[in-house]
Amino acid sequence: MRDQWTDQLSDYVDEELADAERRALDAHLTGCVSCRVLLEELRRVRANARVLPDQAPDRDLWPGIARAIAPGRSARRALAFSVPQLLAAGVALILVSGGAAWIAARRPIQARATAGPAGAPTWGSSPVWRSEAPYAAAIAQLEAALDEGRKSGTLDSATVLALVHSLATIDTAILDARHALAADPASAYLNHHLADTMRRKLDLLRQATAIATPRT
């Protein structure tokens, strides 16, 4: 689920929040790990998007993203996406690049032609894993908070069991989506589905962390 803070993060990055809204969000960010991670992810997506070549590869999502960041658009409003759209686009973008690199490892000549000109961002030898690293970091932080709640007794065993069960359900879905994407990296549906499912895991962990934190 979206909340008022995540909905404001995109405007925050674009410096379009009113002073009062910005101050409120600043205050919220000091105490919210998941929002800070989302903010970092947004900034990273925007930075990556700006250095990508303005050339439409043969992929489902890319043309829309390229149009959104093409020169000539409002310099102030660099990206007019909502947070979920940005995250989905970011993950999709990187997964597409990851998919291209994965193909490159198997079919070097064809993949290089797809991957774009020299100077395009590189994603390392394990591109998909690297692309998910920000999510992994957020999830690790939030899982630690959840574990703390479990140890401190804030969460009882039935709640922990329910959360663990649901986290396992989401992890299975993520695994399914990853496998499907490996076979069909250009699928817009699969890209969105993976991004959505990972976002749901973040949402769940954020919710669990909130529950695990004793109320004052």
Partner: protein
């Protein structure tokens, strides 16, 4: 105004009635047990609670907020069962941890949060926000912005109207007799069912990872429908003309395709997408009963 009424009960039952000013809100916090709130025709609030001697029930009117809270001489209170009668138009904020929460007959905003517990809400107007982690949520006859969120159980809504958002991870979502131009329903492992209006210009999104999505399409609806499935089929009980298709996504229009047509997105990774007529859904429902 602080503490217009403070009552601390030490017996096994607490029963008190408090006159509240117009526009007052009820805020109840009960870590364990149950909260039942019923609307009545009086302008006062009656709080009845069953609890152990060591536990305290505090009823405090602070300005326009009537707070009902469970406290204890122990580190944590035992189960307390509340039955609270309120004016129908009184906004409600009810919270608990191991707590079942029931609301009956509200005609005002309702906010419910529990961790291990079921939520049943009949009525509600304006913002109706119902949350649990490990518990089923059911809502009927609510209108306004309806937000339903659980993690490890089912969601059902019927005879509701307004903007609707329903989310769970491990559970089914069933939405029946819905009047809405904005519906979003998502689960990860569970089925999704929608039988309700499709309004011109409306937006409808239904998603699951593991499970079927069953969607009732009224005969006179005007909509552009996009369906996506990775391991599943599209099963429509009426003819559809596919306008666009790729490997995992199909789209088509029904009725008059125009800029004002509703937009409907249906997604399932592992499951079928079933498009039915409303009458078929009614028959199926009766059959299941």
């Amino acid at each position: 105004m602080l503490a217009a009424v403070v009552l601390i009960a030490l017996g096994q039952q607490t029963d008190t009635t408090v006159t509240v000013p117009p526009g007052a809100r009820l805020d109840v916090s009960n870590p364990s047990g149950s909260i039942v709130v019923k609307a009545w025709s009086q302008k006062s609030v009656r709080v009845h609670a069953d609890h152990e001697n060591a536990d305290l029930v505090q009823v405090t009117l602070e300005g326009s907020v009537l707070r009902v809270k469970t406290a204890s001489r122990r580190s944590t209170p035992r189960e307390v069962s509340y039955i609270i009668s309120v004016p129908a138009v009184m906004p409600l904020a009810l919270s608990g941890v191991k707590t079942d929460i029931d609301v009956d007959g509200a005609q005002a905003p309702v906010t419910v949060e529990t961790v291990n517990g079921q939520v049943n809400c009949r009525g509600g107007s304006g913002l109706v926000s119902l949350k649990s982690v490990d518990g089923r949520i059911a809502v009927q006859q609510a209108k306004g912005r309806i937000e339903i969120n659980t993690v490890n159980d089912d969601i059902s809504a019927s005879d509701v109207a307004g903007e609707i958002s329903a989310s769970t991870v491990s559970g089914d979502i069933e939405l029946r007799n819905v009047e809405s131009s904005s519906v979003e329903a998502a689960t990860v492992s569970g089925e999704v069912l929608y039988a309700g209006s499709i309004t011109d210009g409306g937006r409808y999104h239904f998603a699951t990872h593991n499970g079927d999505v069953t969607f009732a399409v009224p005969e006179k609806a005007n909509a552009t429908i996009s369906v996506s499935t990775f391991n599943g089929d599209l099963d429509a009980s009426f003819p559809v003309n596919l306008a666009g298709a790729n490997k995992h996504r199909f789209s088509f229009s029904i009725g008059v395709a125009s800029g004002r047509a509703a937009r409907i997105e249906i997604e399932t990774f592992n499951g079928d997408i079933k498009l039915r007529r409303p009458a078929e859904m009614d028959e199926q429902s009766e059959h299941n009963e």
